[in-house]
């Protein structure tokens, strides 16, 4: 089938006649054999990449915000612990953290079996999610801490003078203001996570990078790497545009523009 297709002029009619699945289309359309052959694996890989990034980033958002608030409001000992956590996860490579969790925690199997958590640490996907979440939570905690600290104190003081309780002050006054400051660095962190998720391919996972490596190892066609680069680039570009739109929306009351 592949041989027949390569002799035919490329175009939609050829694809329609060939009755392919959708993920083989792009490769056939631009006449790239390796992409046609491994298109479906790449698509599955892209799905896994998106899943890993979305879950770890969302969990990191919650944990990061909690850590930032705790660091600013809680006593000295919790603050010191959180400081240690962020220093470790921001000071060491994500690859080391991933291997510590995947090989390290995975090596104490009897312990996990005893407490019934072996199903979690057995799966490379969950190990990856755990490493990515802990890593991005540390970075996001610092982003939120910086944003919350940058707020002028007069805002909260005025709210207190109006008789607002601490929780509403935080939710309705401080959070919206901090989000404007935190938005851009959070977008950068999301982009960093998309790129960092390629490390999943090093713990046997077939994310976009893993699928690309497999395709290259079998075909020795370097162009598949360029296709992957283009896919990653488009993801980053989409995030960038989305963030620009969000920033415009969130700052629409400011005269700055």
């Amino acid at each position: 089938m592949v041989i027949v297709l390569r002799k035919m002029p490329m175009g939609l009619s050829a694809i329609a006649e060939a009755r392919m699945t959708w993920c083989e289309w792009p490769g056939a359309f631009i006449g790239l054999e390796v992409l046609e052959k491994y298109g479906c694996r790449m698509a599955t890989g892209l799905g896994l990449t998106l899943y890993l990034v979305a879950v770890s980033f969302a969990l990191g958002l919650v944990i990061g915000l909690a850590l930032a608030v705790a660091k600013l409001r809680a006593g000295r000992i919790p603050s010191a612990i959180i400081h240690g956590y962020t220093t470790f996860f921001r000071g060491t490579p994500l690859l080391v953290q991933l291997f510590l969790i995947y090989y390290g925690l995975g090596s104490i199997r009897p312990f996990w079996q005893e407490i019934g958590l072996w199903w979690f640490f057995r799966e490379p996907v969950y190990c990856c999610l755990l490493a990515f979440t802990l890593n991005t939570a540390a970075y996001q905690a610092e982003i939120f801490r910086g944003a919350l600290q940058s707020l002028p104190t007069g805002q909260a003081e005025a709210a207190r003078a109006l008789g607002m309780r601490p929780l509403p002050i935080f939710l309705k006054i401080e959070m919206p203001l901090a989000l404007i400051v935190a938005l851009r660095p959070l977008g950068n962190e999301l982009i960093v996570m998309i790129k960092a998720s390629a490390l999943a391919s090093l713990v046997t996972l077939f994310d976009l990078m893993g699928a690309t490596k497999l395709a290259f190892a079998r075909s020795f066609d370097l162009s598949i790497y360029f296709v992957a680069a283009l896919i990653y680039l488009s993801m980053v570009e989409i995030i960038r545009r989305l963030w620009d739109a969000m920033e415009t929306r969130l700052t629409r009351h400011l005269v700055l523009r």
């Binding site: 490579p93 510590l100 390290g104 370097l222 790497y225 680069a229 990653y232």
Partner: protein
């Protein structure tokens, strides 16, 4: 616990010396990449401000691409890409032998082009912060454009760019761990091999983590000192 000490020792049973050599490779590749990446980044930043639209477009495309593609992918493309390219060239010259690409060189190039893309943004921000009057005054004094850059612009540039470049350096330091996948024997590579042999992942990846943490902390301290020095002519607010 005794076992752990033996494994980390410098004796015949221990991995201490190997880990130290790995740490040395990590710091060497980071230091070797730094000047190349920063210089290329400055060139790209100057390209982005150029009057030539083609040069502007190429520089913008450069930073967009290398900031958006995973470092691991860039590393593979450069490692395998250069290898295939050089091999073709070698064969076309009539040689039949196989060429082996040095992982150190490939790692240096890959990390360098990525560092250049990120540092270009820092350089650009710093360049924009320097007032036009500085260049005009330099021109009025009869300095050539190159002299003005070397004597007037660049010293002021370093002061503004230093915090951003410090961040770039920290990212670079951690990214060097990726070169272990193209068999460069850095800290990460040694830790992985030690884990395969001894089945002590906590010990060796923990040791690797501490090595990176040590380098990060030294760098934070060093950059603080450098910033103090760069700001010595300025009164600090507060």
């Amino acid at each position: 616990m005794e076992n752990a000490f033996t494994l980390l020792s410098f004796g015949p049973e221990g991995w201490g010396l190997a880990l130290l050599q790995g740490a040395w490779v990590t710091i060497s590749i980071a230091l070797a990449t730094l000047p190349f990446g920063l210089a290329l980044g400055l060139a790209v930043a100057l390209g982005k401000r150029s009057r030539n639209p083609l040069l502007r477009m190429v520089s913008t495309l450069y930073t967009t691409v290398f900031r958006g593609v995973p470092e691991l992918l860039t590393l593979y493309i450069i490692y395998f890409g250069i290898q295939i390219l050089v091999q073709k060239l070698w064969s076309s010259l009539g040689f039949t032998s196989q060429l082996e690409m040095s992982p150190f060189f490939a790692g240096m190039v890959a990390l360098g082009v990525v560092l250049a893309a990120f540092s270009a943004e820092v350089w650009l921000g710093a360049l924009n912060s320097i007032e036009k009057g500085q260049r005009e005054a330099a021109a009025a004094l009869g300095l050539t454009r190159f002299q003005a850059f070397r004597l007037i612009i660049f010293p002021q540039l370093m002061r503004v760019a230093l915090p951003g470049l410090g961040n770039n350096w920290m990212v670079l330091l951690k990214e060097t761990s990726l070169v272990s996948v193209i068999t460069l024997q850095d800290t990460m590579f040694i830790a992985t091999r030690a884990n395969v042999v001894t089945k002590e992942p906590f010990l060796f990846f923990g040791a690797a983590a501490l090595i990176y943490l040590f380098f990060s902390m030294i760098s934070t301290w060093g950059f603080g000192k450098l910033e103090d020095r760069a700001n010595r002519g300025y009164v600090r607010a507060r």
